[in-house]
């Protein structure tokens, strides 16, 4: 079983290596339909598909037996762990090993399914892109890293995958690096997540030193003092906030939409951002023991879900709407975790992974079709793209939490968990109120996006040239089959995953949610109905500006962090130029000035030289006579 | 002591008489060569006292010194030009044992002192504060520099043959066949000497058609007369030296030694005059060319010949 897990992790890695090294060697044929090297396509899809098959087999293996506890443990009760070697560091040893648990298998399934879908989808999406081989190889590498995080049995090994994901995220966001803004976004994403990762690494160290082992099972089994646990979890939380785009480290995620849309689907909706939630769930006993950490998480989640939802309501860029929506939904998961229900969090993680990937892929299809990210350029696409319309409607329904879509069940579970949370009173109150309001706002922005994309008059116009960061020129047809197939397949779990009904449905809170969501949707519909060509976001009134700019957080960051640092740097440069260089130059100038006096003797008059010479000879002679 | 006084008195007398004789001869010979008579009235017979009259006239004339001149040097320049020739006469043997002072390095003495004489021309040229004079002085210096070498080389050929630097010693050693043996050196010596005397055709420093009168342009009266005297004294000295070194001095058949010496000096003086009348003045570059391309190699050839014969004889 552990061998299968290892293969699952390694296959995409080998695919990435092969894709990077071999896809262009000796030319090779170019796929007539995709406009990219055929070999690269094989290198991209086959390993991921292999991993998917192996995951299914692993799931079948893991499903044997009986288990209790969280729903994943009852689904996949069989656990296994194994280690390749132990690196003896002199202090705490690092065990290079994997561990298969129910949670791992569940998230693993999510990862490979979305990754396979994205790989297939990308073939069509990146039609004719000359950098397709490296792009697909990076996706494979990312998949491998994410699977390593999922299956890792050791915190440091997990951290390796964690960092590789950050690197791939950077590389893929900057895929169209010709546009300066894109590479700046990539750098921003990299730096912000790195900031969280520092805390994450120190949290790992704290845990490892306290438990004398980096193995997750050992850490979970260890009896740790409360102070250590609180410190460690708070540090880990920094990393979680970075990766999962939680307040206050969420600012990179909207900018990361500069990457190709499949990347947004894969990384910034379904997998990488889920890694933070996954880690908390994986180490959940620790978090349960650390009440202050969960309070912090609760406040962060409360602020994040409502703020991001409001921001999503004011965005014109379809992908940015989805990005803020992602932040908001991730905050829901964080809220569930803070409330003490890891089951609700993981349930929502799974359904969200499905429907958000679906939404992104649909958005990709729309953008591919329209040639622009902006909703003001869309509208009335219902007829042109029927399949996309249907699937995206399913996705939006799930996002809003409308039955029977999957989101209805998972969101209800989260809100029920929050309602019954074991938290500090103020934090719980804030969280619960925020969750309910957010449900309404979510209904509003989802409706707005749905209406502005597919209804109303068509505003599509063909762009003469595709800009980097956008997709392709409008060709007036439905997306190619390689893009439609993943969409269609992903629509099934997005619609049906809720019926697994792993958590008891709380009918009371579900009814409240539904009412609130429909209320939000209704208000938007009313505004839209009055003027179909105008943005329903005008209902925000004077709050539109702050919402559209995400409450000026980037500006604040720039003022609080970036500018002082720049000032400091300028000060250092200035000091270097005037003080350090000044000392160096001053010494040279002083030497020159002093040498002016010495130079008085060197005036070029040979007679003066000879005079000095003879005077010296005389002195020597007299000295020799007198002294000798 | 009396002996010395008598010798010096005779030498001074000769020094005063011989140049006058040469001068008068030049007047007459040149005139006849140019198909005229020359001076005919002073003193009666063929104007024999012409130069004495000239001397009287020069003495009477005003001694003019240019305002811009360097007065001291201007004044002593004629003396510097004249005195060396007087000094040279002291060591020239006239007959067997008839010599003012017999110096061990007499030949060197003669050459050295004659070189000093040229200083007079240079001083005169510079002190006159006249560009023609300065040019003349520079020409004189250049000429001296060039012709000193063949002069000394030719003279040293004789010294080598005789094995001594003493003029008396050279004459003691002299044999009749030295005449052909040293003939080449003799010609070189004579020509180079003419050039040192700045006599035509080597009178570029004076060259009246180019630079008026060269160093002597500004001179008048007795000082000019002293320059003229120095020139004729120079002719006498050159004749005497050539006679002593190359023509056997007092050696000669029948007649007594001093007569032979005087005859030889007279003939050579005549040749000097003759050459003056016969040849036109050379150009400055031709002058230098003659010295370096003509005379110096010839003198060296003579030196080699002397050496070879000397070795073969020994």
């Amino acid at each position: 079983m552990i061998t299968i897990a290892a293969l699952i992790v390694l296959l995409p890695f080998l695919g990435a290596a092969g894709g990077l090294l071999l896809s262009r060697v000796g030319g090779g044929p170019i796929s007539a339909r995709a406009g990219v090297p055929t070999r690269a396509i094989w290198f991209a899809i086959l390993p991921t598909a292999g991993s998917a098959l192996l995951t299914v087999w692993l799931a079948v293996q893991a499903a044997k037996g009986d288990g209790t506890g969280a729903f994943w443990d009852s689904w996949f009760p069989a656990e296994a762990s194994g280690q390749l070697t132990v690196v003896d560091t002199g202090a705490v040893p690092i065990s290079v090993g994997l561990a298969v648990t129910g949670l791992s298998v569940l998230v693993g399934i999510l990862v490979v399914v979305v990754a396979l879908g994205v790989q297939v989808y990308s073939v069509g999406y990146l039609h004719g892109d000359s950098r397709y081989p490296s792009y697909s190889a990076f996706i494979s590498l990312f998949t491998s890293a994410m699977l390593l995080v999922v299956y890792s049995g050791d915190l440091l090994v997990l951290y390796v995958g964690w960092e590789v994901m950050g690197l791939c995220s950077y590389l893929l966001i900057g895929h169209w690096w010709e546009e300066k803004a894109n590479s700046r976004s990539a750098v921003k994403a990299f730096l912000v997540t790195r900031l969280g990762d520092v805390g994450f690494l120190f949290g790992i160290f704290t845990l490892g030193m306290a438990a004398k082992s980096f193995r997750i099972s050992d850490i979970l089994a260890a009896q740790l003092p409360t102070a250590t646990v609180v410190t460690a979890t708070l540090l880990l939380l920094a990393g979680v906030a970075g990766k999962s785009a939680q307040v206050p480290l969420h600012t990179w995620l909207p900018d990361a939409m500069a990457g190709p849309t499949p990347i947004s689907a894969l990384i910034h909706a379904a997998t990488m951002v889920a890694a933070g939630i996954f880690i908390v769930a994986r180490l959940y006993p620790l978090f349960l023991a650390a009440q202050p950490t969960r309070d912090v998480l609760a406040v962060s989640a409360a602020l994040g879900m409502l703020g991001a939802a409001l921001a999503a309501l004011a965005q014109d860029d379809l992908k940015r709407v989805l990005a803020y929506s992602t932040i908001s939904q991730l905050a829901y998961m964080a809220a569930a975790l803070a409330a003490g229900s890891d089951e609700a969090a993981i349930f929502h993680l799974t359904t969200h992974g499905a429907f958000k990937a679906l939404l992104f892929l649909c958005a990709g299809a729309v953008i591919h079709h329209v040639g622009s990210n902006l909703m003001s350029r869309m509208g009335g696409l219902r007829a042109a793209m029927p399949l996309t319309f249907v699937t995206m409607t399913i996705g939006f329904a799930a996002l809003m939490g409308l039955p029977p879509a999957s989101g209805f069940f998972s969101k209800d579970a989260v809100i029920a968990a929050v309602e019954h949370a074991r938290l500090t009173d103020a934090a719980q109150l804030l969280l619960y109120a925020s969750a309910l309001v957010t449900v309404g706002v979510t209904g509003a922005y989802a409706t707005r996006a749905w209406l502005r994309t597919f209804f109303g008059p068509t505003q599509v116009e063909a762009l003469p040239e595709p800009e980097p960061g956008t997709a392709h020129v409008f060709d007036g047809r439905e997306a190619p089959p390689s893009m439609l197939w993943p969409i269609g397949i992903l629509a099934i779990p997005a619609l049906a995953l809720g019926w697994t009904s792993v958590v008891e449905l709380d009918l009371g809170s579900a009814a409240i949610d539904l009412v609130i969501a429909l209320l939000g949707a209704g208000v938007v519909y009313a505004f839209w109905r009055s003027a179909p060509t105008r943005d329903p976001a005008r209902l925000l009134g004077p709050f539109y500006g702050p919402c559209a700019r995400a409450f000026y957080l980037d500006t604040v960051y720039a003022m609080v962090f970036v500018r002082p640092v720049l000032w400091l740097a300028q000060g250092v440069v200035h000091t270097d130029a005037t003080l350090v260089d000044g000392a160096v130059r001053g010494s040279g100038r002083a030497t020159l000035g002093l040498s002016r006096f010495v130079r008085l003797a060197q005036n070029g008059n040979a007679q003066l030289y000879v005079t000095g010479l003879l005077a010296g000879v005389l002195l020597i002679a007299v000295g020799a006579v007198v002294l000798g | 002591m009396l002996d010395v006084v008598i010798r010096l008195a005779i030498i001074v007398a000769a020094f005063l008489v011989l140049p006058l004789l040469v001068g008068q001869t030049e007047h007459k010979v040149m005139a006849h060569m140019q198909s005229r008579l020359g001076p005919m009235y002073a003193g009666g017979f063929h104007g024999w006292a012409q130069l004495i009259a000239d001397g009287v006239k020069f003495v009477q004339k005003e001694d003019i010194i240019p305002a811009a001149a360097d007065r001291t040097i201007f004044k002593i320049a004629p003396a510097v030009a004249l005195v060396p020739y007087l000094v040279v006469l002291i060591v020239i043997p006239v007959g067997d044992g008839l010599v003012g002072v017999d110096l061990d390095a007499g030949l060197f003495f003669v050459l050295a002192v004659m070189g000093v004489g040229v200083l007079g021309a240079i001083m005169a040229g510079w002190a006159s504060a006249n560009k023609y004079s300065v040019l003349g002085g520079m020409r004189a210096a250049a000429q001296l520099m060039s012709y000193e070498l063949p002069l000394v080389l030719a003279a040293s050929s004789v010294a080598m043959a005789a094995g001594t630097l003493s003029l008396s010693g050279i004459l003691d050693e002299w044999q009749w066949w030295w005449l052909p043996w040293q003939a080449l050196g003799g010609v070189v010596f004579f020509v180079a000497g003419l050039a040192e005397l700045r006599r035509p055709p080597f009178d570029m420093p004076i060259a009246d058609s180019e630079i008026i009168m060269g160093p002597m342009t500004e001179y008048a009266g007795i000082r000019f007369a002293l320059f003229m005297l120095a020139e004729y004294a120079g002719i006498v000295v050159l004749g005497a030296l050539t006679a002593v070194l190359f023509l056997g001095g007092w050696h000669g058949p029948l007649l007594p030694g001093p007569v032979w010496t005087l005859i030889k000096i007279g003939v050579l003086a005549f040749v000097v005059i003759w050459v003056r009348v016969s040849y036109p003045r050379m150009r400055e570059d031709q002058l230098q060319r003659l010295a370096w391309v003509g005379l110096v190699p010839l003198a060296l050839l003579q030196l080699a010949l002397t050496g070879v014969v000397k070795v073969v004889m020994a």
């Binding site: 005077a615 | 002085g137 210096a141 000193e148």
Partner: protein, 178 residues
């Protein structure tokens, strides 16, 4: 070499003559280095060299004396005069024949004189040389040059050749350095 040293007073005739000549030589040398007229300096140099030649004669170095006259007076001074005229020396006094270095030069010159004279007087106070005529005649000197010193003499000829070529190259304007 060590002869009984007679008293300094009374001096012999030779000594008187030599000292007179020496005074003339040194005095005219002083004039050479102090006169304000270029050509006078050259002419004082003639006097100085002449006096020195006289000194050589007193010291029985007869041949050296005549060579001194022949080369120094007859050639070197004439060359110097030639150079003075070619460099357009003015007639009369030149105000700027002395450089600003005069005082230092005077100090160094006087110090040199002091050191040398004191050392020489201290070292040779009792040395005495009787003079025998004929020691510096041409014959012994010649045989000495062409027997003992023939190799240095030949080396000297090479030096003269080098100087000759050097002077030609320096003064000919149609030969240009590359």
């Amino acid at each position: 070499m060590n002869f009984a040293s007679p008293a300094f007073w009374p001096p012999t005739t030779q000594e008187i003559v030599f000292l007179l000549l020496g005074v003339i030589a040194v005095g005219s040398a002083v004039l050479v280095v102090t006169t304000r007229q270029l050509v006078h300096a050259a002419l004082w140099l003639v006097v100085s060299f002449g006096a020195l030649a006289g000194g050589y004669l007193v010291l029985t170095a007869e041949f050296v004396a005549w060579v001194q006259i022949l080369i120094y007076v007859g050639a070197i001074v004439v060359l110097l005069l030639f150079g003075i005229m070619l460099t357009r020396a003015p007639i009369g006094r030149s105000a700027d024949l002395d450089s600003g270095n005069q005082i230092a030069a005077l100090v160094v010159g006087v110090a040199t004189a002091g050191v040398l004279v004191s050392v020489l007087v201290a070292g040779f106070r009792h040395a005495y040389m009787p003079l025998t005529p004929g020691a510096g005649a041409a014959k012994p000197l010649g045989s000495s040059i062409f027997r003992t010193w023939v190799l240095p003499f030949e080396a000297l000829s090479v030096l003269l050749l080098a100087a000759l070529i050097g002077a030609i190259v320096l003064s000919r304007t149609d030969i240009r350095g590359r």
